[in-house]
Symmetry: C2
Subunit: 123 residues, 2 copies
């Protein structure tokens, strides 16, 4: 099972596609709002080659859509950063995240619920 590891440019495309749903290069490019149109096109073609997006070529303006789930790819990205940066310690990762980003009260409570449920499975 090889881990999927999009490049930064590819992440930007994928985020746009997850947000927009199936979309043309033009639409994705405008959602991103920066860089050259051809760069967006090229990256989307590369993503199609890699199978991370699928392309409907019916219309002249091809319609792309993400072929991978957002959560799954995020999970892979977390694995990467855990291994490379945190030596596998998820607790340390979360500590840094808490230090850097203030979470909304609602988010903190939801997080606590998640921890509760995980702790329930252990003991």
């Amino acid at each position: 099972m090889t881990r999927i590891r999009p490049t930064p440019g590819e992440w930007e495309i994928l985020q746009a596609l997850w947000k927009l749903g199936p979309a043309t290069v033009r639409a994705v490019h405008e959602e991103i709002g920066a860089g050259h149109y051809n760069t967006t096109l090229k990256l989307m073609q590369i993503l199609a080659e890699k199978g991370l997006v699928v392309r409907d070529e019916e219309a002249r303006a091809h319609v792309y859509k993400a072929a991978v789930g957002r959560e799954a790819l995020q999970g892979d990205a977390v694995e990467d950063v855990l291994e490379r940066v945190f030596g596998g310690s998820a607790a340390e990762l979360m500590q840094r995240a808490l230090e850097r980003r203030k979470l909304k009260k609602r988010e903190l409570e939801e997080l606590r619920r998640m921890i509760d449920s995980f702790e329930g499975k252990k003991s």
Copy 2:
């Protein structure tokens, strides 16, 4: 304030240096336990150029030590992954981390304490 973004190879060196303290190329290379000696050397020279490590050239075998704090770099790495992968949502990042890695009971409790203290600062 430019964010420090070591490459994967550089992270490996830095992790070894944080673990060993000031060390020679040889020591770091053996700690890593893989790859070509010259690759380790080259990466450490690059790190020195970038200022992420400092080099004591007194002895023939130069002694390198990390010039940046582990926690600070981890924080930068978290910022990166938050922006690129999670659209800034630390809650989502932590959710993925919890799904992927089982934390020890002690870690879960420590995490809960951290959440408590952060929540205390709000409302």
